[in-house]
Amino acid sequence: MDPIALQAGYDLLGDGRPETLWLGIGTILMLIGTFYFIARGWGVTDKEAREYYAITILVPGIASAAYLAMFFGIGVTEVELVSGEVLDIYYARYADWLFTTPLLLLDLALLAKVDRVTIGTLIGVDALMIVTGLIGALSHTPLARYSWWLFSTIAFLFVLYYLLTSLRSAAAERSEDVQSTFNTLTALVAVLWTAYPILWIVGTEGAGVVGLGVETLAFMVLDVTAKVGFGFVLLRSRAILGETEAPEPSAGADAQAAD
């Protein structure tokens, strides 16, 4: 593979889309994550742990389906800008995010044990963030594109604010395991999710500083880390066990969470 191919990808299907290399790798990594979580969660009987497993298995599961769809060119459209430039927009990516990002937040909300109104608000603002980002990606004028991007980014800042205030203070009332896991996952979400609007603005949907191949690679790395990495940290933690009867820290405790 020459350096240019390393930058842009490799056209696996021969249809003129070098980004298929990254989409194919994304599909495989998401599938590995899904099956790992299924295997890990098989036979879990703890009530709360089951809820986390149900959510956390579905997240990379649907993401792998979205990556497979994009790999085969499903959910991609051309958007013609007023300048005459034509952009390839993978809108199936937004379908993935519309389903998965609220569920990642639901995991955090369950950890913090916040009320259902807070959960609903958080999920609603998150959905708004994704939908406005998608409208921006499909807009034809730079003003509209950047305006929707700004709207989406403001919604993201609200999500971050909720995480760092309401959810963090609720998590502070819970066990040390929960607090530690919650803080790790919140830091992961804050850092990774901040990279998305930056990548959008420098990628083909924004200023076009990086090409579609590099952009697809970066989104794939972010997606896999934000979903599989998140699930890995969450499901290894004892924090997902019911609080009342969670065992004292011991070598066997982690095994119980896993089994």
């Binding site: 809820e51 149900a54 769809a69 499903i74 199936a92 519309l98 999920i123 019911g242 065992p247 119980q256």
Partner: protein, 73 residues
């Protein structure tokens, strides 16, 4: 609540398990079926149809996960 060997695991609510399966199918349909129909329906209905199905599936998953187990009687 943690389960010990002497207890029965909490019973799953059948309706919620079925609901989760339906949500999974809905999310997959939103990704694969709706964009495939783009040529017939046009981009607008495809785009909004896909978004609606993913949102519906996500809300369904949240609801059914929060109601995954039978309430103790």
């Amino acid at each position: 609540m943690a389960h010990t060997d002497t207890e029965q695991p909490p019973a799953l609510r059948t309706r919620s398990v079925v609901g989760l399966a339906v949500c999974l199918v809905t999310a997959l349909a939103g990704i694969f079926v709706i964009p495939t129909l783009e040529g017939r329906a046009g981009f607008g209905p495809t785009f909004w149809g896909m978004a609606a199905m993913e949102l519906l599936a996500m809300v369904g998953v949240a609801y059914f996960v929060l109601n995954l187990h039978e309430e103790p009687t």
